[in-house]
């Protein structure tokens, strides 16, 4: 089947390339091939294109150009952002009182090294990075439901109160708190500004931070991969990560934002490239295309979000009327393009397969649909049913006809699959 007659309802995994990115991409393959660090004509042209992309992204997201770093993926942006804040904080925490003294290599005085405190519903890229920090053997352990994480409500919300309570259970403040902008599986949008305020007030209450407090509030890392370009960015973060292929840019471009003045130190070997926060030869054509897609997405965001939110509302309403089906996540405070639900007595893998046979491509958080055979840690943290799970996400070109086709197919598929097991 061609892409035209196989409408994909999985834009949250990857949005098709935006037409604005396609034109820029093909032009920049010719004009942006050179090493942007070279001083010859083609090198200076590549550098100009790279600087233009940085400026464009900064304008699209209302940040400073010097806060913008391009990485090779959203995952890499998450790792650099999170681990860089951890390194910046840990280095400061361990610094000797006398600034003239040699850098200390002594371990911190608290029981166990302070580490990152993630919410329970972070993307596995965040949880893997936290495990990697914990695991002296180099992060070979599988991602665990983090030993210490901030619990969520039944709709997947990380409240500022939950952050305060999680601090109360720790023997020492964490180095970084990691809370996503919006959840990638259920769409819940997190109250980032409120959480940042809670971190501010916790710093003021920390008795150890009294006179001459050596460091301010615990920095907040925000994984914004699911919502960047679709919703305005939140405020209150020290570093933030996003991924171009989720907003209609090409794969292979991530975005790391580090707030001016945030204490961030490169967690990986440095490279002698244009931007010292990243490494490797810059993919100028893809970066330029990512910036163009972001600009186009932001320009049409309000109209697109309104249209998608109305379609998702219809899906939420119709699906909830089916027997033994539960729609999960926040009903209003959510990503505009994404809806998730779980169906009792149905195998998630079979559900994905049957819908795909009818030309409807969806994702699933069910264990049987996962390579790990573990149920989604997001659904588990919310206490939601994990089997028979479907995540449906609309692309910018997904129309009402596709949504209606899905709504027509779902009851049939459910009846068939439940009939097979006698339910």
């Amino acid at each position: 089947m061609s892409a035209d007659v196989h409408p994909c309802l999985d834009a949250a995994s990857s949005e098709p390339l935006h037409p604005a990115a396609r034109e820029v991409f093909s032009a920049a393959i010719e004009s942006g091939y050179a090493d942007p660090r070279r001083l010859h004509h083609d090198g200076r042209r590549a550098r100009l294109l790279l600087d233009n992309a940085r400026q464009s992204v900064a304008e699209s997201l209302s940040v400073r150009p010097d806060e913008v770093t391009f990485t090779t993926s959203g995952t890499e942006a998450v790792h650099r952002g999170l681990l860089g804040l951890h390194r910046g904080r840990a280095a400061r925490r361990h610094a000797p009182a006398d600034p003239a003294a040699q850098p200390s290599t002594a371990p911190p005085s608290t029981a166990g090294p302070p580490t990152v405190l993630p919410s329970a519903v972070e993307h596995s890229a965040v949880l893997h990075a936290v495990d990697w920090l914990r695991d002296a053997s180099g992060g070979v352990a599988p991602p665990t439901q983090s030993a210490q994480s901030i619990p969520v409500t039944g709709t997947g919300l990380v409240t500022a109160e939950a952050v305060r309570e999680a601090f109360g259970t720790l023997s020492a403040p964490p180095t970084v708190v990691a809370v996503q902008h919006a959840n990638h599986e259920v769409g819940t949008v997190q109250p980032i500004a409120e959480i940042a305020e809670a971190l501010e007030s916790l710093a003021h209450q920390d008795p150890a931070a009294g006179q001459g407090a050596p460091y301010g509030p615990v920095p907040l890392f925000v994984d914004a991969c699911a919502g960047a370009g679709r919703l305005p960015l939140p405020t209150g973060w020290a570093a933030l990560a996003a991924s171009a292929h989720k907003w209609g840019g090409p794969a292979g471009v991530g975005l790391l934002l580090v707030r001016k003045g945030a204490r961030w130190r490169n967690p990986f070997p440095v490279d002698d490239r244009v931007d010292p926060r990243t490494s490797g030869f810059e993919n100028v054509p893809a970066i330029l295309a990512a910036a163009a897609a972001l600009g186009a997405m932001v320009a049409e965001r309000d109209e697109l979000a309104a249209r998608q939110a109305a379609l998702v509302d219809r899906i939420r309403h119709q699906v909830a009327r089916l027997p033994d089906v539960e729609v999960v996540g926040e009903p209003v405070r959510r990503l505009p393009h994404l809806v998730t639900f779980s169906c009792l007595y149905v195998d998630g893998e079979a559900l994905v397969g049957e819908l795909d046979r009818r030309g409807l491509g969806v994702a699933s958080g069910s264990a049987c649909a996962a390579s790990t055979l573990q149920p989604s840690h997001v659904l588990a943290a919310m206490g939601s049913l994990s089997h028979g799970n479907v995540r449906l996400s609309l692309g910018r070109e997904t129309g009402a006809d596709t949504v209606e086709a899905f709504l027509a197919a779902l009851p049939e598929v459910l009846a068939e699959l439940r009939g097979r097991v006698g339910m």
Partner: protein
């Protein structure tokens, strides 16, 4: 867990959603107030048995282990 179990469902070796399907098929075999136990290694059951109870108005009592160490999930029939 000190609950007296009225019916134990051996779902060892069954993967999701089969343990929950077995629970849904058999819970009516105990009287109201009776306790059904689901014994399974399926990691999804830890999430899905409590979720089934919530969706079907039954009471989830918690988890213990069978004699062979396999997790056992206890449900009180309330409707």
């Amino acid at each position: 867990m000190t609950e007296a179990v009225d019916l134990e469902l051996d779902c060892r070796g069954l993967l999701c959603p089969l343990p929950v399907i077995e629970l849904a098929r058999r819970y009516c075999d105990v009287p109201l107030g009776g306790v059904v136990a689901v014994v399974t290694e399926d990691p999804a059951a830890r999430v899905d048995v409590p979720a089934w109870c919530r969706m079907r108005g039954q009471e989830y009592l918690g988890e213990d282990t069978a004699a062979d160490g396999v997790p056992r999930y206890l449900v009180r029939r309330t409707v």
